[in-house]
């Protein structure tokens, strides 16, 4: 069954709360580690970022995100669940564009697994971003 890793526009903060609430029934989990990525109003050449427009190669996002989840679950045997959500389309400064949520029996693996997943997303997820500035100009960004 394919999982939907992409949402249109900003990720509603209610998704994050819902994840925690859903885990109320999983009493084998002792901790959650989250990375929540937000669009930052960087300043480039005296111009402020007002939004980022994300685009994605969707079928490969699915394959790569599946791969990240498999790697995390196989490397961290205390991890119970990992959820990855990335925005596509327009996300304004201050809004959430990435959520990585990991639940584990104990904190150490929750934190390490979340960190690994975020680094793998940065490296391997076929997503592109166009920073849009307050004067309507834009530039394409790359992960370093």
């Amino acid at each position: 069954m394919s999982e939907n890793y992409l949402v249109d526009g900003p990720i509603p903060t209610s998704f994050i709360a819902s994840y925690i609430e859903a885990f109320a029934f999983r009493t084998d989990a002792g901790g959650h580690s989250f990375f929540i990525g937000q669009v930052r109003a960087d300043i480039l050449d005296n111009k402020k970022v007002i939004a980022i427009e994300y685009s994605a190669y969707e079928s490969m996002v699915e394959a790569e995100a599946d791969n990240i989840k498999s790697r995390v679950l196989s490397e961290f045997n205390d991890v119970k669940s990992i959820t990855i959500i990335h925005s596509k389309g327009l996300v304004k400064a201050g809004e959430v564009s990435l959520a990585v949520m990991v639940s584990a029996g104990h904190r150490q693996q929750a934190i390490q697994a979340c960190s690994l997943a975020v680094e793998m997303i940065k490296k391997n997820l076929p997503v592109w971003k166009k920073e849009i500035y307050e004067d309507d100009s834009y530039s394409w960004k790359e992960n370093k």
Binding site: M60, I121, N124, P126, W128, W140
Partner: protein, 77 residues
């Protein structure tokens, strides 16, 4: 014999399109040359190529309905 080529990120601006179909091209090397013929500016950009969701290097045979994707450096997260 038809192959679909997708462009992403800045390459959609360089080529003016997100998708182009090529006919009667049987290996990736030839396809790359045809893309350069159509969009000469593309040689100034960094990208990797994926064939049917797999990033590949070098030449490769193409089949009808293959999907070749030009991937600029990623920027997710």
């Amino acid at each position: 014999m038809e192959v679909k080529v997708l462009f992403f990120g800045v390459l959609t601006e360089v080529t003016g399109t997100a998708c182009k179909h090529y006919f009667d091209v049987f290996n990736l090397g030839d396809l790359k040359h045809r893309v350069i013929d159509d969009f000469p500016e593309i040689v100034h950009y960094n990208f990797r190529i994926a064939l049917n969701n797999q990033i590949i290097d070098g030449d490769h045979e193409l089949q009808s309905s293959d999907e070749v994707v030009y991937l600029p450096p990623f920027a997710g997260g």
